[in-house]
């Protein structure tokens, strides 16, 4: 007999509904507690840039020569990021030529140009370019949509995607130079997880998920949260994580999968720095369908 079987008490009718309704009234579903302060997308970008700048300032001279990504060493990667900022400047200034520019090809000349420069010069140029991005952002319509490197996103989403990129490359450099990995601060991470959840249906489209599937994505730790995302039936985006009953989480036509994992690790998955087999995953529902969702998450980061 288990401990719970010692309590053969029958609950009064309606008590379950009443308690769950009162709970949801007291605290809305979906949001992490203790509550994480909200920061603007520009602030999230600025924080990621500051964190990377701090890392670059701490690197030794020889660290800049370490190979990191593709054929780039650390200095070349920072050069790539300078190129991305320059394209952002053009994008924010209304130049449509960068809308469909290739993320790598477009920035490669700036990356290559760093060879032979002093690391401090590269660092200063990149830092200045991020400040310039923020200055341009402050003059933009926050509700406007911008297109750069094949992405067409609202300004806020674009800045969070850029924060995501800076953090990811920050950790690329840390790996290359033997430094411990970093995690974004909770408010910035919350922006990133929100964006990743919102984009999950597009990753599913990309990987060819066909069957409608209701996904409950639970990302644990500060900066995490809970999202209900419909995938496999076109990009519908995430919906409320407060359905009245677990059984009602999915429609009769769609299967249900719940994925629970750490928020930072999930962002590394989305950045394609981790495989699903490297995450501590807790999956409820069809394992194959869950694997399809995780593959969709990985597909959000492509080069």
């Amino acid at each position: 007999m288990t401990a719970d079987e010692r309590d053969p008490v029958v609950l009064p009718p309606g008590l379950r509904d009443r308690v769950l309704a009162a709970s949801r009234q007291a605290r809305a579903a979906g949001h992490y507690v203790p509550e994480v302060a909200e920061v603007s997308p520009a602030e999230a970008f600025g924080r990621s840039a500051d964190a990377l700048h701090g890392l670059l300032c701490a690197l030794r001279e020889e660290d800049w020569r370490e190979p990191v990504l593709r054929d780039l060493d650390v200095q070349g990667l920072v050069g790539h990021l300078i190129g991305v900022e320059y394209d952002m400047h053009r994008c924010l200034s209304g130049d449509r030529a960068v809308a469909d520019a290739d993320h790598v090809e477009s920035t490669q000349p700036v990356a290559v140009r760093q060879a032979g420069r002093l690391p401090a010069q590269t660092r200063a140029e990149w830092h200045h370019s991020t400040r310039r991005t923020l200055a341009l952002v402050s003059a933009c319509d926050p509700d406007a949509t911008f297109a750069v490197h094949g992405m067409r996103l609202p300004l806020g989403a674009l800045l969070v995607a850029r924060a995501f990129e800076l953090w990811t490359h920050d950790n690329d450099i840390r790996i290359a130079t033997g430094l411990p990995l970093s995690a974004p601060d909770a408010p910035t991470l919350r922006r990133m997880t929100d964006l990743a959840a919102a984009l999950l249906p597009y990753g599913a489209t990309r990987t060819g998920l066909r069957d409608p599937l209701s996904v409950r994505l639970v990302l644990t730790g500060p900066g995490g949260g809970t999202w209900d995302v419909a995938v496999g039936a076109g990009p519908a985006g995430p919906t409320s994580a407060g359905s009245p009953d677990p059984a009602a989480a999915g429609s009769p036509e769609s299967a249900c999968v719940r994925i629970v994992t750490d928020a930072v690790a999930f962002c590394r998955l989305v950045a394609n720095r981790l495989g699903p087999d490297q995450l501590d995953l807790h999956i409820t529902g069809d394992q194959d369908q869950a694997a399809g969702v995780l593959a969709a998450a990985c597909a959000l980061a492509l080069d």
Binding site: A3, R6, S23, R27, V33, A161, V218, L274
Partner: protein, 233 residues
């Protein structure tokens, strides 16, 4: 609704995307795995150690399905614990509600390393039930005094009367366990609403003795009620 993005713009973006663009990061890098541990350090940290810790992590992340799962598993035990203190009725249901709302609002107050979720919830239920009994005891005493001072008073709502009766029955049962002298002063002070001086006069004892007996009686009452709750867990 947790979406913060404009779905129209995202749809446009989705339609435009080709397979060769980076969205959230640069190109994938290889990940070195050293002796079974992930070179990425924090990645290897599990979401939670144990089923209860996982549920707590899900609660903190705002997963209301986790709350429903916990309710289905543990609400009968919580309700039973409340019933043992308060008797049948709405008061025990209120305790169940308070316990689960508290867990949902402040999941961080449960420390999985300190014990099971079941133990934590039963402890919450016990404390809440004892608080309810004590507050009802005070309310009954106030009401008794009010009745003595006021010639006519509007009756309280029926549900309050029922809850009060349930709590009062638990308290009266505990009072019956007191020694005669202490039981008498409690009855005079709380059920008949007498002041300490009046209790002393009615019982034929010095006022100081009445006070000390009241203090002793209240301490014993709390101990008895707590013991009942512990036994019920």
């Amino acid at each position: 609704m947790l979406t913060r993005l404009d779905p129209v713009c995202l749809a446009d973006w989705g339609a435009q995307r080709t397979a060769e663009h980076c969205l959230l990061a640069g190109a994938p890098v290889s990940v070195q795995v050293v002796e079974g541990t992930n070179a990425l350090g924090p990645v290897g940290v599990p979401v939670a150690k144990g089923a209860d810790a996982l549920l707590a992590a899900r609660l903190a992340a705002g997963d209301d399905h986790a709350l429903a799962e916990i309710f289905d598993r543990l609400a009968p035990a919580v309700y039973a614990a409340a019933l043992r203190v308060l008797g049948q009725g709405t008061a025990a249901q209120d305790v169940v509600q308070d316990v689960f709302v508290e867990l949902w609002r402040h999941p961080g107050r449960y420390d999985p390393s300190a014990g099971t979720l079941r133990t934590f919830l039963l402890m919450l239920a016990r404390h809440r039930a004892v608080d309810l009994v004590r507050s009802e005891l005070r309310r009954i005493a106030r009401q008794e005094r009010q009745h003595r001072l006021t010639p006519w008073q509007q009756s309280p709502p029926v549900d309050e009367e029922v809850a009060a009766a349930e709590a009062a029955s638990a308290v009266r049962a505990a009072v019956r366990l007191l020694p005669d002298g202490q039981r008498r002063v409690v009855e005079l002070a709380y059920f008949e609403g007498l002041t300490c001086r009046e209790v002393a006069q009615a019982a034929g004892i010095p006022e100081g003795t009445a006070k000390s007996r009241l203090r002793l009686a209240l301490a014993k009452l709390e101990a008895v009620l707590d013991r009942q709750l512990l036994e019920s867990s």
